[in-house]
Symmetry: C2
Subunit: 449 residues, 2 copies
């Protein structure tokens, strides 16, 4: 939204949609050039709509005059986000562009972490007093609008100590009788959030109550600002992106994919890959325990990747489903028993289906024509059946329980990534497979050693 009531179009200006389409492909200097070609009004819309990182990039290359101009376009909460991203010593000159009142607002926002309600809120909101009539309130709001206030569906009724008494939707305000005082029009059981509430919890509050704006109050009940649902869209996207990146087995990138350089990528991805590689070395140890079996019958080793992957795949499914369900608040740690029973049934059934396919395949197709194989093909097929069931079940259970255990330990459930679950199930898979094989084949082959 713009400050100007009358659209002003400069025919020589760059169409804003052209810049928007090309944006991702431009480097910082080209972006600045393009941005400077926009009409005044388009530039404002465009700048306000940019991510903080992109705003920062423009700001850093711009002249001091431009810097002041652009920063002034931002609402106090967006300005605070931008300032927070700047080094301490560059903040003061930008703060200096604001009038006293705005500077106080921005400074008080800077005190909040970016990911709590106080860091998301807009400190400018429509306020009325309980004794005002509907007519007076509308006049009063018109004056506030003249002072640059965003009007966002609700007006808040505050007492002289700025404590939140109630809320009036514009609809109720507009249809109230002209002389009705706000005290009688307002709704008093207002859903509110605390200024230090984590943004994920704020998002859940929005979802539960189906609201478009939530008042933010401090510890003493004073209203500090409003979080609007459009801020929550960004929060929801961010949190989902973080979960997805972690599920894939990296640290959250925290930046658009194409803007993370080689070093950044390595920082985010190599760590987990190293941990998993080191953990995976246990498979070498596990396999070495069964080397004599492989010496005796090399055929056995051929099935190892198949067996292990069936555990890894079923585990990836289970862990991603449970991680997402926990992020959405559908599953809580106290639900672990229901999840366990769920996955026990699902894992067993899926394991049986895959196991029977493996069983049939060993018997019927391959390598039935070998003389040596014929004598124990049934035993091998049985071992495959049992170990696929065991490994799929095991993968499913650790995949579903690990996120819950992590949450209980105060860690992020999303760290139970697909690769981690696969690695954990691999070591067990080797033991399960070779134990089953040993047991079945002890009936068909001479004992070892």
């Amino acid at each position: 939204m713009t400050d100007s009531a009358e659209p002003q179009h400069d025919p020589a200006a760059l169409p804003v949609d052209d810049l928007r389409d090309a944006w991702r492909l431009l480097d910082a200097a080209e972006r600045l050039d393009g941005f400077r070609l926009l009409g005044r009004e388009d530039a404002q819309d465009f700048f306000v709509g940019l991510h903080t990182t992109d705003q920062l990039q423009l700001i850093e290359l711009s002249s001091p005059a431009e810097r002041r101009n652009w920063t002034r376009m931002l609402a106090p909460d967006d300005a605070a986000d931008l300032l927070q991203a700047l080094p301490e010593e560059q903040r003061a000159p930008l703060l200096g562009i604001y009038d006293e009142a705005t500077r106080r607002e921005v400074t008080s926002l800077l005190a909040y972490r970016e990911d709590v309600a106080g860091g998301l809120m807009n400190p400018r909101f429509a306020r009325v007093r309980p004794e005002m009539t509907a007519d007076e309130s509308i006049l009063y709001l018109r004056r506030q609008a003249n002072e640059g206030l965003e009007l966002y569906t609700y007006a808040y009724v505050l007492d002289r100590e700025q404590r939140l008494l109630g809320v009036v939707s514009f609809r109720d305000l507009f249809r109230a009788k002209a002389q009705a005082p706000m005290r009688e029009v307002m709704k008093t059981d207002v859903v509110r959030v605390h200024d230090e509430m984590d943004q994920e919890a704020v998002g859940r509050t929005f979802a539960e109550h189906d609201l478009v704006a939530l008042p933010v109050v401090d510890a003493s009940g004073r209203m500090k600002g409003v979080v609007t649902v459009d801020d929550i869209v960004d929060v929801v996207q961010e949190e989902a992106t973080e979960d997805i990146h972690k599920i894939g087995g990296s640290v959250a990138l925290d930046a658009p994919y194409l803007e993370v350089g080689l070093l950044g990528m390595l920082r985010k991805r190599l760590g987990w890959l190293l941990v998993l590689f080191l953990a995976q070395m246990l498979t070498v140890v596990a396999m070495s325990y069964f080397q004599a079996r492989i010496d005796q019958l090399s055929l056995l080793s051929l099935f190892v990747p198949l067996i292990l992957s069936s555990g890894g795949n079923s585990g990836s499914q289970a862990s991603t489903l449970v991680i997402r369900a926990m992020s959405l608040g559908e599953v809580r740690p106290s639900d672990w028993k229901r999840v366990f029973l769920n996955e026990l049934a699902t894992g067993l059934t899926m394991g049986l289906v895959l196991g029977v396919i493996g069983f049939t395949r060993v018997l019927s197709i391959w390598p039935g024509n070998e003389q040596q194989f014929a004598s124990f093909s049934w035993h091998l097929a049985g071992a495959i059946l049992v170990s696929v069931v065991g490994v799929v079940l095991w993968g499913t259970l650790i995949g579903s329980m690990l996120p819950i255990v992590l949450r209980r330990l105060g860690l992020d459930p999303a760290s139970a990534s697909a690769p981690l679950v696969a690695t954990l199930s691999d070591v067990t898979g080797i033991v399960v497979y070779f134990s089953a094989v040993s047991w079945f084949l002890s009936r068909a082959l001479p004992p070892l050693g």
Copy 2:
């Protein structure tokens, strides 16, 4: 938001937060019982805030009178969602509860698919005429508010054919001069969406322009409704959940985890697991080509799980990062070259780091004390180094390119799940590893057969 201007509290009623907390743990009948205990106003807030599936559950068990009462609470767009979920023959009686105008609104919404702009929009929005003054517009909005309209930050300026001429924010409206006509106050370059636009694209339009409401127009430019950003929060959550489920290797559940029964779980999960299991059988074939090598030196088989998992893990990372970047619009298919070069550099570096660790480990720790091993430990270490580099690079490249290829083919990039990428990289991994081993060991061991 409620219709009632004055809060009415029934001291005997169940506190709504108690019901909310217990909701997930209750079965359908208990939910209905709890819901019936709520105060009138709480019941309305609560019902409106429920997911369509939960509303449906209550509706199905309730009496016809309750059914009518509750359905009437819903805004036309939410009512349309609910009706859409009902079997055809149950819709008519519920439609009958509305007055003529509302019924027409709901029926026209039913014509849209749920996941396009038309299916998301609210057909009730604040409208003014271009010739109205600010004072007249505010009076006119007050009348619309009296008729039950939601007032949501903007009023839309329409001509007599309902074509969208411009938009006026309440802020601009309130601070305009009393006699200024809307024609002069309105902004004319209005961002709008087409009624058949897919909800993901609508979400991106919101994000790009940082708006709280978007007007929806039909093919002839007539304004049909407004999509508000609170609807987009749900869309964003849904789309992320779908992506996450697919990345984990299942079909999207489309329902809360704990409400999907065993059969539902199997339907969503077993299909992919079967496909992957069958594809993974190729690893048995691939391994069998190298069985003679394993016969010659069973030691070689011990490293197979380690090598394969390093490819699967790096592939999972790459595919999830690229899938998410594509969902967010950060990466488009035309960016494939940049992604390829990115992943080439990242994959090579990560492969080298892991490879060197594998190399050192083979040489230094295990099993250096075996006489037989000492003669070719350098060759084996070299083979491990080369194959880890090859497998990690390969995993990274197919993980990153597969989502792009799928999008090009018109399929969902998120189908390039972690398990699928791991499976694809496994077969190649076996070939790479045993080829490297054969090449290196041909210098230390007698040739085969």
